[in-house]
Amino acid sequence: MPKGAGWRIALIAAFVVLSCIYLVPTLSPNLPEWWKGMLPKDKIHLGLDLQGGTHLVLEVETAKAVEGTLDLVATDLEDTLNSKNLRFKRISRTGSDKVSIVVYEKDTAAAVQKLIKDKYRDYEIIPTVEEGGMVGVALRMKEQDIQDRKDKAVAQALETIRNRIDQFGVSEPVIARQGINQIVVQLPGIKDPQRAIDLIGRTARLEFKMVKEGVSPTGGAIPEDSEVLYEKHTDPTTGATTEIPLVVLKKALITGDLLTDAQVRIDSQFNQPYVGIEFNSLGARLFDQVTAANVNKRFAIVLDRNVYSAPVIRERISGGSAQISGNFTEKTASDLAIVLRAGALPAPVKIIQNVTVGASLGKDSIDKGLMAGGIGVALVIIFMAIYYKLSGMVANLGMVLNILYLMGAMSALGATLTLPGIAAIVLLVGMSVDSNVIIFERIREELRLGKSPKSALEAGYDKAFLTIMDSHVTALITAAVLFQFGTGPVKGFAVSLSLGIMINLFTSLMGTKVIFDLFLHKGNVKKMSI
């Protein structure tokens, strides 16, 4: 055996064995128990473009979360001042980081400031301003706290969305944070993407608000403490929607964060689905108080600023359960129950990217991709065998090794195979024999100069080495850049390509060479089949 061939063969064989082991989880879906204990479990994942599914990028409107916190502070201050008999004209959130209080007297202002200092230590107090006989006091959220709040909002949103998706039932979803305020959601193989998108994108802020009686929503002035919200009705037969305006108090009496459970139930009388909700102890107490105090008045059940229903309170409701009815179908009721159980998002989210591939297109893509790959491989094998004869077959063997190693490596890394990724592999088939073509042409040149096969081989590999290096490095540069900047399918392409290029370097400079060495090492081979 030629010098140094032993360990090279051993290395190649070791890689073959490794690749095969790593490929097992990919190729067989049901692994025996003993395998799972010690052997690799990672497998090549199919990209969404191949198995169908939805890729969403959501942007959390974090500024809204900060505003929400400040609104709470404003409401809380209002209650506190009322209970302490401190008279004020107005308390409201101003701008994106302040709550302003307008009072009538300087003394009150001082008292309010003291109160704020005690109660809201983390806030900055802005010096009072006097204007037109009024005194303005304001507190501002610190920049650091604002950032924290925003950061938390994204984390909470992520958690909530994960909850919703888990309850909706999607296998192997990917939910991850991206950048400062974005969340990436991948739902492979999802059957009803539109429903999932609706479910995820909903803020699901549930509020119970009293209806302001005696104020017309259409004409006339709306009192400052009230607002107009709409109740949507969809006619189940025609599909036409009507909107009924309703004046409600801005202040919510009870909110969805006091819920412990929400379930779909069927109304026995009308056979209509509705959502039954359960309050926690605080919510139950509040609900009890509110219903007791407002018998024969209407209250509105508001979700994301849409009125679902506005029933009249017939009697005091104790026990902490209530029901939300509306024009529900089985599906919409179950989705509402899911979002209520999973909780509201801390801030609204905006869908900024949605790529959905249907399962049939995905299936079509993978079938055609594999077929094209097979044909590509066959074409190259035939060409090499005809043009370079036995040496061509050695190159073909190298190419097969290449594909095997690449699949093994992708499996080991748990990489994702996308359709462009398949294209990259097919392209690599062409490129992997390229290196051999460069070497073979060099060998032919040396043979023409009258060298023996053995020395022609050595010279061929030697002189082609740098050329092959160069071409691989330049290809790798662009592949690496694609990897860095690409997303989704493009990233899949870059992964396959860069791995392939590196592996190709190994097989072409080492893999095929050792086969030639084995044949030619004795130096008595007169003719080379090239």
Partner: protein, 313 residues
Amino acid sequence: MMELLGKTNIDFIGKRNISFVISSIISIIGIIAIIQMARGVANMGIDFTGGTSVQLMFDKPLALADARKALHSGGIAEFELQEVKEGNKLLVKLPRKSALAVGKAAEIVPAAFVKAQPGLKVTVDSTTEIGPSIGEKLRKDTIIAVAISMLGIICYIAWRFDFKFGIGAVVATLHDVLAMFAAYYLTGREFNLLFITAVLTIAGYSLTDTVVVFDRIRENLHKDLKGSLHKIFNTSINEVLSRSIITSLTTFLSAIALFVWGGEVIHDFSFALLVGIVVGVYSSVYVASPVVLLLEQRAMNKGESGAAQPVKA
């Protein structure tokens, strides 16, 4: 020994004036394509412009005019229709400014068809909705990606060879890239992320041929110090011509399999690769080498006149 080409002796460099004209025309069309893209009049994918595209599959053929009518009556005023080559498929593109909220298109668009033609079975093949901020980010990322790859290639070639070869390689690469833009533009294909992926791949790949030629030129320059540059360049190209063609041929074979059998999604992508591979061979012979020759000759003339000057003074 089977040979595609025997020993050739073609005067490639002598034809450089013709090839420069051809290359210039290709490049100019490519540049026009890029300008049209920047102006937003080229066929741009929504990856870059933002907006929505929905690909639908029907159970029976649907005339474009009927599809147009259906969408109009469905309340969708602004859209672009593109026929997909296989099956009864249709791609509906909605511009960013149309009022559809992101996340809704997969509902509204098929609903419009069903409403206009009851009984028609519509399946949503794929939906892509790109918000404006993503489109902008992708555009920016793409420009950065292309710039970094080009820079990386220049640096590497300049380091491995010398600066003149570096320039030759980059000019050739740019030429290949422009040719791909030109081919896409002339055939009215959609410029999207996959196209950019193909461009960057070819930018890396087409250098293989260029490197093969450069290696040989350098080798022959060292061997034959006295011969005319013109002759050395020609001999070098002739010597490596068959391997340039064969290396590209093998890759071309696999790319053509993708083009013919790979399915609609990567059809255009493989077209871009095919163009890039073919142009890559051409440019390593007719662009890269002549540019280096030009630079070498200029450097020599300068060197001679530079050396002569002190004597005169």
